[in-house]
Amino acid sequence: MKKAPFLGGYAILYLLFLYGPIIILPLFAFNDGRIVAFPLNGFTTRWFTEMFADAQLKKALLNSLTIALSSATLATVLGVFAARATVRYRWPGKPAALGLIMVPLVLPEMIVAMALLVVLLSIGIPLSIFTIILGHVLICMPFAVAILTSAFQSLDRSLEEASLDLGETQWSTFRLIVLPLVMPGILSSFLITFTISIDEFIISNFLGSGQPILSVYIFGQFRFPAKVPSMLALGTLLVLFSICMLAIAEYFRRRGIAKTGGKDTGGFL
């Protein structure tokens, strides 16, 4: 193999550029000073106290969690149906249906959000958390369907036939054989769609009707310099939360692979 030392350096710079800014978050979240600038002024936890005292933030967080959990669950459940239907059965209009599911992936989200707003208003559905969930399910579906389709495709059809052959019904076969074997895919889909939903901004902003939503709320708070440090504290907690989620997902993925004797292909996608 030829040596290319500058490639290694390039990779390190690249990673620093990607992840370096994230280190700024905890750094200034614990910095005793309202202005986000070096030099640091000493350690404090008051930004966290300030953040926890913010009632609006609590409400926004609760709303966002409700939206993300609902959207991820809905998108994943619908994704299971869609993936199963595309992998196992032939039906008229299948390519068109699949294409339509995938369209939000390439449509500018701004357009989707505007179109949804116009339609919802014109048919008289009041904006609420529910309308945000609808929008999020729409943009989450392509990801859920893509992940779950590949999970269903790797399932050997004769496993289901063997179960039927051994006396089980269609439904018990799905529960006993199909679900456990596509579970890693379901988990992946849930995590990805949850992540997409929780930091989604445009649809949340358009269809939100003034309800505090985390992403919209954070954006709003950044207009007030005094609020910035407590937002960094919030960011620190969110990063920690993401790392925990990833670790859990990775644990289950590896356990699934070990249990079924599959080959580790790397990422949990």
Binding site: D156, K259, G261
Partner: protein, 364 residues
Amino acid sequence: MTITEKTMIEFRDVHKYYGDYHALRGINGTIRAGEFFSLLGPSGCGKTTLLRTIAGFEDISSGVIMIDGKDMADVAPNARPTNMVFQSYAIFPHMSVAENVGFGLRRDPRSKADKARAVEEALDMVGLRGFGARAAHALSGGQRQRVALARALILKPKVLLLDEPLSALDKKMREHMQVELIKLQRQVGITFILVTHDQEEALVMSDRVAVMFEGEIAQLADPETLYRRPNSKQVADFIGTMNFIPVTVLSEAGDTVEIEAKGLGRVSLDASLAPPVRGESPVVGMRPETLTLLYDDQKAAERETEGVIDEVIYFGDMTYYDVYLGGTDVEVRLSMRNVPGRPVLEVGTKVRVAWSPSALVLFR
């Protein structure tokens, strides 16, 4: 278990279409209770489709399939008295060996201890005693197959369906499992139906074989009849090696046909043994082992013909010779066992070949 005359499976004019494709074209025939039956044919001949219609995984377009006297038209796979060993074995990867084998007992009202004993017995039967706690994915190919067998047999089906179960194994293992399967079938006495494209495997294992081409059963017979009296050139060609020699029919009187075979001369054959006339240009077929090289002053028991060796293929225990017959361009392959004191001959050697008219099969 002896094979009875009792019919286990009956096909009556079974057709199967996939869209425009006619996969099964009027299957008729019966499979007897307790027999080891094979569906043999090249890929795409419909043998797997036929097996899957027995299991109920494929609907039939028309016709009737009866299992043990009952019409299977509206019977779902999970209600049929059949179990299947899949080509991929279809071992549930998220379960242990014991959970796999015991899967079919989930709806069994017996106690847990009784079921565990049944699983242990089934594992014992396939030579996997004590493997119950292992993870299914950690097994070798041969072991997976045994698990698949135990899992299918634990429900004591009337018919066990085997879809090319040996094709994924290496040659040694395959030959070993062939014998094991035969023994197992005798032990449990269940009707076995095997799908295979390997003619040798079908001959070794089966009581009877259905040879299939293009969605039809070309011949249904016991292995010996199939080998010695194939009913068409196609079957003869598919099973083993067969030499074909062009002939002219000279005269026909009653059961006797007089022919002139190129390189062999005039022969009279018993027409009652010959397969049905199909209107093809007439040939006679002869198996390599029905031809014998004569050494030194050996004399032919019936007929002999002179020839020249064109090719020598050495197999260790056997040697195949390709020989031009009687100064013609008709070449036949014959096989000789290599025994001490009988040297392997060289290309170009002039030889005498002994043969018997009764070993000839006339296709016309």
